[in-house]
Subunit: 193 residues, 2 copies
Amino acid sequence: MAAQQAPLQGKRIAFLATDGVEEIEYTQPRSAAEQAGAQVELISNKPGSIQAMQQDINKGATINVDQLVTEADPADYDALVLPGGAVNPDRLRQDPDAVAFVLGFFAEAKPVAAICHGPWTLVEADVVEGRTLTSYPSLRTDIVNAGGIWVDAEVSIDSGLVTSRSPSDLPAFCASMVEEIAEGRHVGQLMSV
Amino acid sequence: MAAQQAPLQGKRIAFLATDGVEEIEYTQPRSAAEQAGAQVELISNKPGSIQAMQQDINKGATINVDQLVTEADPADYDALVLPGGAVNPDRLRQDPDAVAFVLGFFAEAKPVAAICHGPWTLVEADVVEGRTLTSYPSLRTDIVNAGGIWVDAEVSIDSGLVTSRSPSDLPAFCASMVEEIAEGRHVGQLMSV
């Protein structure tokens, strides 16, 4: 495989999610990362498996957890991905270990990609002030109140911070996520800490 | 029935909710209001019925909608109740008519009771600044960022604004809701507009 076909070869990516994750916002970015050559692990605040949802109110697949967030270290990963689903970040943001894990990627200037309701965990980690991002439209007010600059775009890229609005933005989200992670560390991420 | 047993006799109360409402946070306050003599209507942003959830990820009952929010007027009601369920306010807050309906109760100094995730719609209506309230713990940061004074209590009562944290607070929530609605208008509600 040529280098440009496996831009994430050798990269290890943490997906952080829990019960309520929107299924397609986990499966599609995970496939995109793996097809680009990355090794992906699902980190969660609960052991065993998590319950994915479809359009927030219909149950989807159950997904195996690879590592507990209490045992995971941002230093061991090259990037973080935060899928959406309303209930997923609603539960993650109540867990201080999950919030500290997210903050660690910013402190190490590593790329972070979040889609839909995923950015609520960024609000909880207090990393959106002065940063440009998008999200599911219901989060706009919470992001603006946290000091973020909210834009209405299929994908927003701000120095290693990749965000999208909803499942219909997944193609643009996945492409930009792969691109930013391939580039490696972004000093702009330090603005958040 | 003695007056003190039907303290809400003659009162008309709007419950505002949509798909994703936490079932028990709708059924218990509704029963409490009706047992206190009130007439209750479910107002929604969708016609027909809504899908209630249990603990956010299990489907519960479907509940008949009495009136569309586009056709409802705060002037016709004595009070507003906002049940929780993460997905319910997440959808309501995206609807300008629902947000305007909520704001209308504050503008008319009428009591508003919100539990669990319900206060997200208060954040969207921009009515929490300077007010004391509680919520499901996941909303604390969003409420503080919106200028609210967040307290950790089974029920918070601030001049006609009644709030609670979760289903386990329902007994205290229902009792305080009935009491505040029985008292009628509270001029303190105008602080929010």
